[in-house]
């Protein structure tokens, strides 16, 4: 008894209540067994990806091996899926791994009836396509790569249908887009393939983004992304304010993927893919993902006016446009592509009708379409392969050359046309019955039977045209190849699929019946309607319409055959070129981005930095404007006159450096080092000995580094302005820069003073101070934080240092100095001239004698500095020092040798291999961290003890010390590498600039 919906058009209220959540409700004794069965799902999902990796590693010519890997993977997966069917009897299988439970993001695999039937399709048809592709692909193609992509796509598709979490589903959804892009563009030397692949990716991935947002909205409404919970919350979702945006976004995802109008245009362009790809992606898998999603979320989203209106309209339009365009195609694959669009529209239309029976028909037709369309694509591939063309106008009478293929194609085409005793007929009858049924009472409803019949007649027409043009008529003339029958193994996959069409078409109840029933029940639950899969329902209206369609389609072909062959492009809708719209949208996006970049962007650094500094200042001053500026009342430390004096010097140095940096680089460098020294003294004064030590050492190295760099910079001559002083624009720029600089300085001073006059609240530091000795075994809390409590941060930091060292090294290997810097420096030329002028001196003597006394002192200092560095390292855990300070000290020892004796003479005596040190240091530090695993502790857990040694006394033994040793070695390596690489630039011979000397 139909009940009028309060807000509907009097259409029957469908019981769209979600199916009961079928958690695994095995009896306690069986729990372990079913858990083990559920865990098989992980194996099933991992299988194609593992196979993909394996295939990718095969050599490019290993066609058979790759085919074996792919076929084996798909076959094992299909068998495994078949085995899992029996465990669906007591509800869905679920396997979970908690990943981010707090965000509702867990990895959940869920196999219910619907997922099972799709998974089986994906794997079984996948297997058949692999067999076909092995013989289809040319030996010249890199076939292992093809199978690697193919298997990865299969895995993504499997992950999609098995997902028990919506976000995870979207992830696999995007993976299918990505791998379909790679598959469509497999013949990447072909421009149409590249363009088609790009179009498919952009359209489906854009839909994927919409889907993600839609799914997030659903997750927000339900409070969970778990599929079971979402399916149980249908009423909540439909009554939510966010329902409409969520619905539209999710449908955008589904429509783009399933090539629904107006996004259908990508599918015909994707026909540039190898035919096995089309047979797989564009019949059974990729385009069915959107259908799958709509079926999956049918219990949640369907049952509203919005759903009915959007989905029915889009489905109807797609079905009509697809069928109309299909009859005008001259390319076999183009015909099949538009026919796919049309059938996808049919399924969408069924889902839009909102009745459980229509949903059953949709699921059934999805299966049938996958079988007959995959076999038709393969047959089209054989024709292309053996006859050399897919143009229907050129093909003719192929039956006499390939009778097997022709017979198979005829059966499959008949299934597509909906001829009785084939599977397509059954689902078509269900569709017509639904079309005749009253759903909403709207004009759509009234027109539906006529439109459906017309679309089916067109379907008959293009099926007949496909068969008749290709296989019948006079023998073909002027084909690129002499056609002949396809190899046996290329026909086998088609035979299997066509057999399926026949068996399902004649004995539906005992073949596909139980599986379809499980799938339907998993979607509709208690709302599952009574339906019959019988072939004969008596002479009823659907059958009448069916006969009308068959007769109309056949007659249409007879009448219009010649005219269709003469057409190029479909009339009425031929003007609507999806590709043109797509290109226009893409071009406008790119142009807008470029215009924005032109208007807002600049390649010049100064305006960017200026803007950055100004905005930072403004952002920092804003809170003062809002809350006012006030000082705290903490009693500060008493100002010491000495401290005031050093900061007078420090401030003067900083300003001096700023003033001199343009024309007197050396002076500026020294002044900068002066400012650094003052901050170093401040650290000592303010109880931070470790900082002072490290800063002092780093200061030394930085100064040496910059000194080495000075040589390669051009001489800076004072600007000469025509008017005697800089023009107004320059003065304005400098003025505004100065203002920003002063504002930044004042701001920093004010903020730091405001903070320092407030007492320090509770902080983490107490924890570190209290635990440093008890748990880290060290008295120097700063060092214990670095090598123990926060050792992971330190590991990251030394890794950065290593990366910078190697980057500097590699940049300098390709270093090209400017022409005028290549000459020996002025001082050196003067010295050499003096040597030449005086008798008894050879050129270079002055250079050698120049630093004689300091040189000897520096050479003698070498061992002492090394001992000092080691001392700093060992005592670091208890007293100021540590790996960083020790490492920099050690590199100073090295660089002093370079300064004293010159690069060549040092390297003649000493093997300096900083690159190896970097590697060893990183290894030691990481291995120390990993060592904790051996004892069952987390990474970088430290251990310590104290040992009594004779003579020396109590010494600390901590694994953190070994970690610090790694830090030390790495810091030595990285610092030395940078300095030495730069120093080496001076002794490179300009003639051999193509192959620079290496420092190691």
């Amino acid at each position: 008894m139909p009940i009028a919906c309060p807000n509907g058009w009097g259409r029957e209220c469908t019981d769209a209540a979600p199916p009961p959540v079928k958690r695994n409700t095995a009896p306690p004794g069986d729990t372990e067994i079913s858990a083990a069965t559920a865990d098989l799902l992980w194996v099933l999902l991992a299988l194609p990806f593992a196979g993909s990796l394996l295939a990718a590693l095969l050599p490019a010519r290993a066609r058979n091996a790759a085919g074996l890997v792919a076929g084996g993977t798909a076959l094992v997966g299909a068998l495994l899926t078949a085995l899992l069917y029996s465990s669906l009897a007591d509800g869905a299988l679920r396997a979970e791994i908690a990943w981010l439970p707090s965000l509702g993001l867990d990895l959940v695999l869920r196999l219910d009836g619907l997922a099972w039937i799709f998974a089986f399709l994906v794997l079984a048809i996948g297997f058949l396509v692999v067999v076909y592709a092995r013989y289809y692909m040319s030996p010249e193609d890199p076939v292992p790569r093809f199978f690697a992509f193919f298997l990865a796509f299969m895995g993504s598709m499997l992950g999609l249908v098995l997902s028990g979490n919506l976000v995870q589903l979207v992830f696999f959804w995007e993976l299918t887009s990505l791998f379909s892009f790679l598959l469509i563009g497999y013949w990447h030397h072909n421009e149409t393939a590249r363009k088609g692949a790009r179009m498919a990716l952009i359209v489906t991935a854009a839909g994927g983004v919409c889907l993600l947002v839609g799914v997030l909205l659903v997750g927000k409404i339900v409070g969970s992304y778990d599929l079971d919970e979402v399916l149980a919350a249908g009423d909540l979702v439909r009554s939510s304010e966010l329902y409409l945006p969520a619905l539209v976004l999710i449908l955008l995802g589904a429509f783009t993927k399933s090539a629904q109008f107006p996004f259908h245009f990508w599918l015909p362009h994707a026909m540039a893919a190898p035919t096995p790809v089309s047979a797989y992606l564009h019949s059974a898998t990729m385009v069915k993902a959107g259908i799958f999603l709509m079926i999956r979320l049918w219990p949640v989203l369907a049952g509203t006016d919005a759903w009915y209106l959007i989905v029915t309209t889009v489905g109807l339009a797609t079905m009509g446009i697809g069928a109309w365009a299909a009859i005008f195609q001259q390319d076999l694959k183009g015909l099949l592509a538009y026919s796919t669009i049309s059938h996808l529209g049919l399924i969408t239309l069924l889902l839009g009708l909102d009745s459980p029976l229509a949903a059953v028909a949709a699921i059934f037709h999805t299966l049938n379409h996958a079988t007959f369309k995959a076999s038709l694509f393969m047959a089209a591939g054989i024709i292309d392969h053996e006859a050399g063309t897919r143009d229907l106008r050129r093909l003719s009478g192929l039956y006499r050359f390939m009778p097997y293929t022709a017979t198979l194609a005829m059966v499959a085409a008949a299934a597509m046309a909906g001829v009785p005793l084939l599977n397509g007929f059954l689902s078509k009858e269900m569709f017509l019955a639904e079309a005749l049924d009253t759903h909403s009472g709207t004009p759509i409803d009234a027109a539906l039977p006529y439109l459906a019949t017309a679309a089916l007649a067109l379907s008959v027409l293009y099926s007949v045209r496909f068969i008749h043009q290709a296989f019948f008529g006079p023998p073909p003339v002027g084909l690129p190849k002499q056609p002949h029958e396809a190899p046996f193994w290329m026909r086998v996959p088609i035979e299997v699929l066509v057999l399926a069409c026949l068996v399902v078409g004649t004995l539906p109840a005992i073949t596909v019946g139980p599986f379809l029933d499980t799938a339907v029940r998993s979607v509709l639950g208690s709302a599952t309607p009574a339906y019959s899969l019988a072939i004969w329902h008596g002479f009823n209206r659907p059958l009448l319409l069916s006969l009308v369609a068959l007769a109309g389609g056949g007659a249409g072909y007879l009448i219009f055959r010649e005219r269709l062959n003469a057409m190029s492009g479909a009339p009425l809708i031929g003007r609507f070129k999806g590709r043109k719209g797509f290109d226009a949208v893409l071009a406008s996006i790119v142009n807008t981005a470029r215009a924005l970049e032109r208007r807002l962007g600049t390649v010049r650094l100064q305006p960017q930095l200026k803007l950055l500094a100004a905005i930072a200042c403004l952002a920092a001053f804003l809170p003062f404007g809002r809350y006012g500026y006030s000082l705290g009342d903490a009693t500060g430390t008493i100002a010491d006159p000495g401290f005031v004096v050093i900061w007078l010097v420090g401030g003067a140095c900083a300003i001096g450096a700023a003033w001199q940096a343009k024309y007197r680089r050396l002076a500026a460098l020294i002044l900068m080092a002066g400012a650094g020294l003052v901050s170093c003294i401040s650290f000592v004064w303010l109880s931070a000995p470790d900082l002072a030590l490290t800063q002092l050492l780093v200061e030394t190295v930085t100064t040496v580094l910059l000194l080495l760099g000075l040589r390669w910079l051009p001489k800076q001559r004072p600007d000469v302005w025509p008017a005697g002083r800089p023009p107004l624009a320059v003065r304005l720029r400098r003025g505004s820069d100065l203002l920003i600089a002063i504002a930044a300085g004042c701001g920093m001073a004010l903020i730091s003073y405001a903070v320092m006059t407030r007492p320090l609240g509770e902080s983490l530091s107490t924890f570190f101070l209290e635990r440093a000795y008890a748990e880290g075994g060290g008295r120097n809390v700063v060092n214990v934080i670095l090598v123990d409590f926060r050792a992971l941060d330190t590991l990251g930091e030394i890794a950065v240092l290593a990366i910078v060292g190697v980057t500097v090294f590699s940049l300098l290997r390709r270093f090209r100095p400017a022409e005028e810097s290549v000459r020996a420096p002025e001082q050196q030329l003067l010295q050499n001239a003096a040597d030449e002028a005086r008798e008894g001196r050879r050129v270079g003597d002055t250079l050698t004698d120049y630093l004689l006394v300091p040189r000897i002192i520096m050479e003698w200092l070498f061992p002492f500095i090394i001992v000092f560095a080691l001392y700093l390292l060992v005592r670091g855990h208890d007293l100021p020092g540590g790996g960083f300070a020790a490492g920099v000290t050690m590199s100073i020892a090295l660089i002093l040798q370079y300064v004293a004796s010159g690069t060549r003479s040092v390297e003649a005596r000493l093997r300096v291999r900083p690159l190896s040190w970097i590697g060893v240091g990183l290894l030691v530090a990481t291995a120390t961290g990993a060592g904790a695993w051996l004892f069952g502790y987390p990474f970088l857990t430290s251990w310590f003890d104290y040992a009594e040694l004779p003579l020396i006394g109590r010494v600390p033994l901590a694994s953190a010390l070994v970690f610090d040793l790694g830090v030390f070695i790495l810091v030595v390596g990285a610092t030395a590498l940078m300095l030495i690489a730069l120093a080496h630039q001076s002794i490179r011979t300009p003639m051999k600039r193509a192959r620079p000397a290496e420092p190691s």
Binding site: V603, Q606, A613, A634, G636, T637, W647, G650, I655, A657, A658, A661, A675, G676, S679, S682, S687, A688, P689, D690, L691, T694, Q695, V701, T702, L705, L706, G709, W712, L713, Q716, D737, A741, A744, G745, G747, A749, M756, L760, S765, F768, L769, E770, Y773, V781, D793, E797, V800, L801, V804, T807, V808, L812, R814, F815, R816, A818, E819, D878, M978
Partner: protein, 113 residues
């Protein structure tokens, strides 16, 4: 001391910001170094100033954590010092390479017209 250090941080920042807005690469490198001095001192100052109280604890339990200077900002600054050295080195090499390639030491690789 607080006021003196705050002023010092201010002067270092102002000099540094002025320099990074200049057109020559060497000026920018000196400016970044000055800014990193200022930032290091600033971070350290966030743990408040203490004289004669280095964070070196005894072997026993720590009775009064307030008697030590704050170790946490020190650990942060220590890494910052090393990283800023790495940054200076990288920047120096990049600007030398840029000078070699473009023939100028202007930050944009071309002289102002």
């Amino acid at each position: 001391m607080e006021a003196v250090l705050a002023l010092g941080i201010g002067v270092l920042t102002a000099s540094g910001v002025w320099l990074i807005l200049r057109p020559r690469t060497f000026q920018v490198i000196i400016g970044l170094s000055l800014i990193s001095y200022a930032v290091n001192l600033f971070i350290y100052a966030m743990g408040r100033l203490k004289v004669d109280a280095p964070a070196l604890v005894g072997s026993g339990t720590v009775a009064n954590p307030d008697a030590y200077s704050d170790p946490l900002p020190q650990a942060l600054v220590l890494t910052a010092i090393v990283i800023s050295f790495a940054m200076t080195a990288l920047l120096l090499v990049v600007l030398l390479a840029s000078r070699g390639l473009t023939g100028t030491d202007h930050v944009d690789g071309v002289e102002d017209e």
